[in-house]
């Protein structure tokens, strides 16, 4: 070792002293002309993929807002982001949020905040009363949290159910039986519960479950199970990584006996094609597969098209999927909240969240919401719906559902 004991002793006492003294060293108050937003993300650990895709888009939008004159109703105040990493562990989301709120004195909080993080944050937000915008949570248990994620029930489950019924009734697909194929983690299980009920109520027989082990390196066995059950449709929430493995397994077994629909990331992420490789992508993505998504490069929504081009050409992001769009949307929602809020007091901000309205057709609406973007009483999106797409051999997507955005009818079963 090159570190001597003396050096270590000095270093160690430094760390100790620092940790003891830190609370008593008050940081200089932030200048009045900046608004501090805390961003607690999973930048490392198992869930790092979400924030690593979204964060650059978010920073780009915030930079743009600042460049265009900041928050005008607050005298052109600039937004300052204060970042934190929860290492994909919900308990640390709570810790970091506490630090951002009490030490960094942020005025708003945001971040990926998946479902488990949302639950872990709830007691801290209730205690410290900090208005918070989650980018991805499917629920919001604290009165202070709003979320852009699809609600489990009226978002994910309802959209998937509606699409399956649409295929059966409107498009005359032969769909009588289903297997629930979903990523076996909190959101996957939650959505599955609701979806299961809804499909049953609509007369579809559930003949089996195929939960995907989220730690597995290969899903061929799960696909063998699905193949042996031979359902008409396989449906459920699938994460991007499980999606890659699931489609790979489908390719391996050359199984096209069922229609696969679900998502979001695992069926519709733009990077799927790249992650699978062109050959496998072409063989499985364009056959009997429909993906749920909140955004599609092919959707006939001008504002969405514009932000995609902008993130690609101006911000030079190399990965533009739903994550990036969702984060960009979060930036715009926060902008509106800050603009319309009477003051920077928490109650005012909370009120402003409740009044958020980005109508359909607004240039700042990046996600596909036919009814626009507003928060309901439960602080989840009023319009939790999403689209369904199908893939084309040239790696483009076509929206097939809902009718408002559809570019084409669903491709018949192969």
């Amino acid at each position: 070792m090159t570190i001597t004991r003396r050096e270590f002793a000095i270093g160690a006492s430094g760390v100790l002293l620092g940790s003891v003294a830190a609370p008593f060293v008050r940081r200089a108050g932030a200048a009045d002309s900046t608004i501090r937003i805390g961003v607690v993300n999973s930048m490392s650990g198992g869930l790092a993929a979400y924030a690593q895709e979204g964060q650059p888009a978010f920073e780009y939008i915030i930079k743009k807002i600042n460049a265009e004159g900041g928050i005008k109703s607050k005298g052109g105040a600039k937004i300052e982001l204060v970042q934190a990493d929860d290492t994909s562990q919900p308990a640390r989301t709570a810790t970091e949020a506490r630090r951002l709120i009490t030490e960094e004195k942020v005025q708003l909080l945001t971040g990926t905040i998946l479902s488990a993080q949302m639950l872990a944050l709830t007691p801290v937000l209730d205690e410290l009363k900090m208005p918070t915008l989650s980018v991805w949570a499917g629920g919001a248990r604290s009165n202070y949290m709003f979320t852009l994620g699809y609600p489990y029930d009226r978002g994910y489950a309802q959209t998937m159910h509606d699409f399956v019924v649409f295929l059966r009734d409107a498009e005359k697909f032969n769909i009588k039986t289903a297997v629930m194929g979903y990523s076996n983690y909190e959101a996957g299980q939650q959505v599955n519960k609701f979806l299961h009920e809804k499909l049953k109520a609509s007369g579809i027989e559930i003949i089996g479950e195929a939960p995907l082990d989220i730690k597995a390196q290969d899903q061929t066995s799960a696909m063998v199970r699905i193949r042996s059950l031979k359902p008409d449709v396989v449906v459920g929430l699938v994460t991007p990584r499980d999606g890659i493995l699931l489609h790979q397994a489908r390719y391996n077994l050359n199984y096209h006996g069922s229609i696969f629909c679900g998502g979001t990331g695992g069926y519709s992420d733009l990077s799927l094609w790249k992650d699978l490789g062109p050959e496998i992508g072409k063989a499985v993505l364009t056959k009997n597969l429909f993906g749920m998504t909140g955004f599609s490069a092919g959707a006939k929504i001008d504002s969405m098209q514009k932000i995609i081009t902008e993130l690609r050409d101006v911000a030079k992001l190399d990965r533009i999927g739903q994550g990036a769009i969702q984060y960009a949307q979060a930036g715009r929602v926060l902008q509106q909240v800050l603009e319309t809020s009477a003051s920077l007091e928490r109650d005012a901000l909370l009120d402003a969240f409740k009044k958020v309205n980005i109508p359909f057709g607004d240039p700042n609406l990046y996600v596909a919401k036919p009814k626009g973007l507003q928060f309901a009483e439960d602080r989840l999106l009023v319009d939790g719906s999403a689209m369904f797409i199908q893939w084309l051999p040239d790696q483009q997507q076509q929206v097939v559902f809902p009718k408002e955005f559809a570019q084409s009818a669903p491709r018949p079963r192969a």
């Binding site: 002793a9 760390v15 940790s19 308990a91 970091e96 030490e103 488990a116 909190e186 299980q189």
Partner: protein, 330 residues
Amino acid sequence: MRQEFYKTLTSPVWLVILVLAVVLPPLLPSYYLHIVILALVYVALASAWNIVGGMAGQISLAHSLFIGTGAMLSTALLLKLGVNMWLGLVISAIISGVMGAMIAWIDFRFQLGHLSFVLITMAFAEMGTVIVEGWDFLGGASGLLLPQDKGDFLAFQFGGGIGAFWVMLVLAIVSILINVAILNAPLGYYLRTIRDNENAARAIGVNILRYKIAAMVISAMLSSVIGTAYVRYLTFADPYLLVSPIIIIEVVLFATVGGLGRAYGPAFGALLLVPLGEILRGKLGGTLPGLHYFIYGVVVIAVILMSPRGLLPLFEKWFSRMRPKAATSK
């Protein structure tokens, strides 16, 4: 030997701790109070683990089951069946104790070697994770959210913050004192004999099964109780934390780096490493992703290379060098 224990009980250090405990928390900002509470949780857990891992030399990775039972079961009993959490704490502790006794019995019955014991307890822990994540009663993968802590003591609520601080302080001290008591009692002597040479212990007629079970049950029940108190403080019963390999890996790390088998070693490790990890993440978490963990890992490696017997022995050596008289009187 008992004398040693009473000497510890009447030590003036307690007065200092009491004064600090009364004066400091109200002055600490909430984030730093939180770090102190976290450190105390891990002091308590590492000390509880030390009873088997350090003294008996049984490196159990199954402790996440006990912590998890204390946390998830008591929460589920309250939310699903309306069982008071105090009662839930007792039920969980008893179940943990039974599981601990079974593991100790398996260890004895099948004469597991050190490494087999590590790996089998690891497999038990993994199985526990899978079961909890697939069992709706315990909340499945989503976990369970406790009602807000309103400070109703009879409902096992301590009002968060300073209340939680006191609960954790008491648990940490109890956990350490149990360590001191065992080390100075015949049980501690037998455990060390078993650890150092199980065959010799058998040859001189030590009832190995009895002491192994005793150590494991005490440690398991203690871990379970700490788990219940911890989840009350967290409010969110998260299976990915409380029943996962993550928590047990951390507990073993703190205990080992602090000084295994010593009464204060594990506590020392947790007191140093928990704040270090939190502060590194706080300061560096917003920069390059992974950097804070990277540095933490480097520090862990450096510390181990510098003091392969644990930090506490190293500090004692420094201390005795500074005060040679204290060393000679020992």
